[in-house]
């Protein structure tokens, strides 16, 4: 298939970062030079836009996947998004990690006075990309407030 047609097929299906898009085409066997040219062309047309991609990614990660900033940053880096774009995308999103942590903890509906259970919940949230200190602070606040 012509590289342009294949590229169009991809971007019509879903959003790609420039790096993801390039990697996919190179893996498919297209020459690096022609891939570079197509990336530039698609960028001019607005089919590829790392900032827009990062903004949407951050929005979905925070609001739908309920992920912590640490994990979001790692995922965006792996998709080849430059640091300054990640920073911009993050600052454009209203992120309140303590609220998300609180929501996730309350959803568990478990007795956090039990050390084993508490540690399990903390680990679960750390896997989602939240910092231990932030999780502990939320637990402390919830416990002191008599919510848990």
């Amino acid at each position: 298939m012509d590289i342009k047609d294949y590229g169009l097929k991809l971007v019509l299906k879903r959003k790609y970062s420039k790096k993801e898009f390039s990697d996919k085409l190179i893996k498919k066997g297209y020459e690096e030079d022609e891939v570079k040219k197509l990336v530039l062309h698609f960028e001019e047309l607005g089919y590829l836009d790392d900032f827009d991609y990062a903004k949407r990614f951050v929005h979905d990660s925070v609001n739908l996947k309920k992920r912590g900033t640490r994990r979001i940053i790692l995922e965006l880096k792996a998709k080849g998004i430059p640091d300054e774009i990640i920073d911009g995308a993050l600052s454009g999103e209203k992120i309140c990690e303590p609220d998300t942590i609180k929501e996730l903890i309350l959803k568990q509906n478990v007795d956090l006075r039990d050390l084993k259970i508490r540690e399990k919940v903390i680990r679960k949230l750390m896997y989602k990309g939240f910092r231990r200190l932030d999780i502990e602070n939320v637990i402390k606040t919830l416990m002191e407030g008599g919510i848990l």
Binding site: D23, L74, A78, L115, R123, M126, Y127, K128, R131
Partner: protein
């Protein structure tokens, strides 16, 4: 065959496990790479014995998981966190393809084969397996290597989960250790760093008596080995025989790493330690008397449950008087499945942290005073490298990775792994500086 990358976290004992896994994989024809970007398979050899270590391990897993969007086809978790929370990892991290506990790391090649076939693997073998050496791919500089003489721990300190992760104490046969040490020497290793959860207990399970002194003597007979450094010596097990061996054997570095954890008798008892303040004071005095110039490293825990301000101040006074050459301080970490976690009177985090800061500040002063004592003196230094301006290396007072360094100027050509004499002429914050003597 695959390209394998490894991230090994935590202690030197874990590093040795990682090195053994790498050798096993290399033996199967896999290639070892340093850059995770290039790896088809990434192993995260985790640590999981305190809160901060667990967080670091989880972060490393998350970080490495992102490489699965690139070249990485398999992500494998091994080590203590994997042993402790295998199900958790598999549940919370779909990116992880296999989890190997501390009793199963030798199955790494087989696990990779199975995972390559698409089967998610969980291997938690017997943590009390017979511990023997095997080939290693060193991750330390070519001239220094860890030598793990035993696995597991029988001390059952009340704050520590290690026996549950690493099993009972099992010494390796002396001949097995000597064979490995000879091979290391032959490959260019000059410094052996003897490790175990507790080196001083070495031999008791296998020979019915302590054999560390005997082992050190045998190691010192190996041609090519210039320095033997011993870590993790429990104070109650340091006897006259061992002190004599340290004193009289020139190859044994006059450096003792003795984790004491606290000095207050009540706290020591609660910790399940088998020593008292009086015996600690006597031991330190004896070591300094018998082995002039000995560098003593220790580690302490602050904020252990029920530790009063008075008891903490007693610990501060102890540190002031003992003037340890090297000191590592941990804030108490409340670990599930340990007796100490169930104690009433847990200390608030802010108090633990304040105590940590206070004792570190105290030690900084002692450290600088100790450093100043070396101005004008000559130290034998194992060269580690050149930072663009000065050479640097370690003296007998400095173990690998955890201690400061000696920086020095040199007129002649020297290379990493050489031993040179350096006259100390100044102190940097933590390090020493001087000029190489011809």
């Amino acid at each position: 065959m695959s390209k394998i990358g490894i991230v090994s976290l935590g202690c030197s004992k874990n590093t040795v496990d990682a090195e053994m896994m790498l050798a096993l994989l290399k033996g199967k024809g896999h290639e070892i790479v340093n850059d995770p970007d290039l790896a088809d398979i990434i192993i995260v050899n985790t640590c999981g014995f305190i809160e901060s270590a667990k967080e670091e391990s989880i972060n490393a897993l998350l970080e490495m998981a992102e490489y699965k969007n690139k070249n990485c086809k398999l992500l494998i978790a091994t080590g203590c966190l994997a042993q402790r929370y295998a199900d958790d990892i598999l549940k919370e991290m779909p990116e992880v393809d296999a989890v190997l506990g501390t009793g199963s790391y030798k199955e790494i090649a087989d696990v990779i084969n199975s995972a390559n076939l698409g089967e998610r693997q969980k291997r938690l073998g017997d943590i009390n397996f017979k511990y023997t050496g095997s080939e290693r791919v060193l991750t330390t500089p070519a001239y220094s290597a860890f030598l793990k003489i035993a696995e597991g721990c029988d001390n059952f300190c009340t704050y520590c989960v290690i026996p549950k992760l690493r099993g009972r104490y099992r010494s390796r046969e002396i001949d097995d250790i000597i064979k490995e040490a000879r091979a290391l020497a032959k490959s260019g290793v000059k410094e052996l760093i003897v490790i175990a959860q507790d080196t001083t207990r070495y031999g008791v399970d296998l020979y019915g008596e302590k054999k560390l002194a005997k082992l050190l003597e045998r190691l010192s007979e190996i041609e090519g080995i210039e320095w033997i450094r011993v870590h993790y010596s429990y104070p109650e097990e340091i006897d006259d025989n061992l002190i004599e061996t340290f004193k009289n054997n020139d190859k044994i570095v006059k450096y003792m790493d003795i984790p004491i954890q606290h000095c207050n008798d009540r706290i020591l008892k609660l910790m399940g330690r088998r020593t008292t303040k009086e015996s600690l004071v006597n031991l330190i005095k004896k070591l300094r008397r018998e082995i002039p110039g000995i560098a003593i490293r220790t580690s302490l825990i602050v904020g252990f449950p029920t530790e009063t301000e008075e008891e903490f101040l007693e610990l501060c006074e102890f540190v002031k008087e003992a003037k340890f050459d090297r000191l590592g301080v941990f804030t108490y970490s409340k670990e599930e499945d340990t007796p100490a976690a169930k104690l009433k009177g847990q200390i608030p985090k802010r108090v633990k942290e304040a105590r940590f800061r206070k004792i570190m500040k105290l030690q900084n002063k002692i450290h600088i005073e100790k450093n100043e004592e070396f101005i004008g003196k000559d130290l034998l230094v194992l060269v580690e490298g050149f930072d663009g301006t000065l050479y640097y290396g370690r003296s007998y007072r400095d173990s690998i990775d955890i201690d400061p360094k000696v920086y020095f100027g040199a007129l002649s050509d020297i290379k990493a792994g050489d031993f040179v004499k350096v006259r100390i002429n100044s102190c940097l914050d933590y390090d020493l500086a001087g000029e190489m003597l011809l």
